[in-house]
Symmetry: C2
Subunit: 256 residues, 2 copies
Amino acid sequence: MSQSVDRAAAILDACAPGPQRLTHLADLLGVHRSTVLRLLQTLERHRLVRRLDDLTWTIGYGLIGLAVETLDRMDLRTAARPRLERLGQEIGHTIHLAQLDGHDIVYVDKVEGHGAVRMASRIGAPVQVHTAGVAKAILAGLPPDRCEAVLASATFERFTDSTITGRAEFAAELAKVRKQGYAVDDGEYESYLACVAVPVRDGGGAIRAGVSITALCAIERLEKLRRHLPRLWAVASEISRELGWTGPAGVGRSAG
Amino acid sequence: MSQSVDRAAAILDACAPGPQRLTHLADLLGVHRSTVLRLLQTLERHRLVRRLDDLTWTIGYGLIGLAVETLDRMDLRTAARPRLERLGQEIGHTIHLAQLDGHDIVYVDKVEGHGAVRMASRIGAPVQVHTAGVAKAILAGLPPDRCEAVLASATFERFTDSTITGRAEFAAELAKVRKQGYAVDDGEYESYLACVAVPVRDGGGAIRAGVSITALCAIERLEKLRRHLPRLWAVASEISRELGWTGPAGVGRSAG
DNA sequence: TCCTTTGTTGCACCATGCGCACACCCTTGT
DNA sequence: ACAAGGGTGTGCGCATGGTGCAACAAAGGA
């Protein structure tokens, strides 16, 4: 492990929520401000941070460029993006695409809904594995050992009255997802949000990703969101095909 | 300067174009593979890189999250995004938003056009300062010393027959931009692309950003793109107002 | 005008980062 | 079945790079 790189990474983490002063970063890291300044100067040289006019430090465009270049080259996103944009245009709700990443599930794409309210979810951020529809859609399609590995770190924290907090109860929920071919988040993370989600298959037919539609309950309750499932299954299936999957055609539990 | 952080940053740069093997990164950096492995392990711990199933290394979701979080918090982007999406929806061409960053100009937002062809421009990437319309729109509005500082590193490389390669010629072009209130790229970078651009003002009235419309000449030549200028000036003005600018209302040279 | 805070730099010291040697794993060829 | 080649991963001793300190500069507020 490299201590200097560790510190540099901590500086980057600290700068993402907003520009930070040198002395604040030194306090945060517990090192001398001359140490932080040298780390910042090296990060600045690579455009990973930049210094603003008021002498605060923020994330640099070089880092942003690395992230955007990486996202632009992801097959899953390339296959999904135009389809998610069209779907978002049609139905007007927030669309998420998420992918398994080791023992995490992360958002990899997002199409904002038409309404005045924006979801706080963010590309690159981890998904709540025990509440998010898209997480359940993926977990339900994983081999048991892989599913267990992802859930090993889950705390099953109660967020609302609807949150599933028991592991046995959650296993039953996943069995239900496998049976019906889609997952839901029925106010389990935020009581006023509802979501339906379906899995996306990779070229080998394995489930590594999922796509979801989320809406405010005040705008569209879960029952009405379910009406979009045929369309969502179709989108998932198209994405899966573009990734090389050659399984059964059509909508429903076999799709995606 | 920190040598370890320098190397870690070089690893990140190398991974953005695509996943890389350990031995390749060691060759690239000219250090021992055990050195690279330890740097990678530290970067992985902070989710700045991730290891794929085939043991190659790629940019991690943690880094992507830092970038997206930073972009999401930028006032300029927040003000611009819904307006650029609406404009893109209306006219169907690629829209760019770029901002001055020290002595560089970088793309900070982009709305893809409707057509089958996608522009290679990328958020976070630097703009060609002597050819891009959006760069000329910004440069024309800078104080002379600031403009010179940006141009100091420009090479005025000839890309097409239309490229402006003389500094005096370029100064004349900027004078023209000031006079007419908009800039163009008339096949100066790629012969088959045309673009119109206008500046965006910050809260204090200074010009630090610009917005542009780009199209394939085969779809819409420069003369027709000019017809979108009233709409583009209006968008730039709205963005400027949301950033706190209180200057003259209306379209034309005074706008944005 | 003075004090405080923040940012910056040169220098000496020591803790960390380095490469080496070895081990392990996987694939390919005989 | 075994050997060879290529790639990855780790423990350890040592040299060097990263560190904090002291001093200085700049800016802002009392």
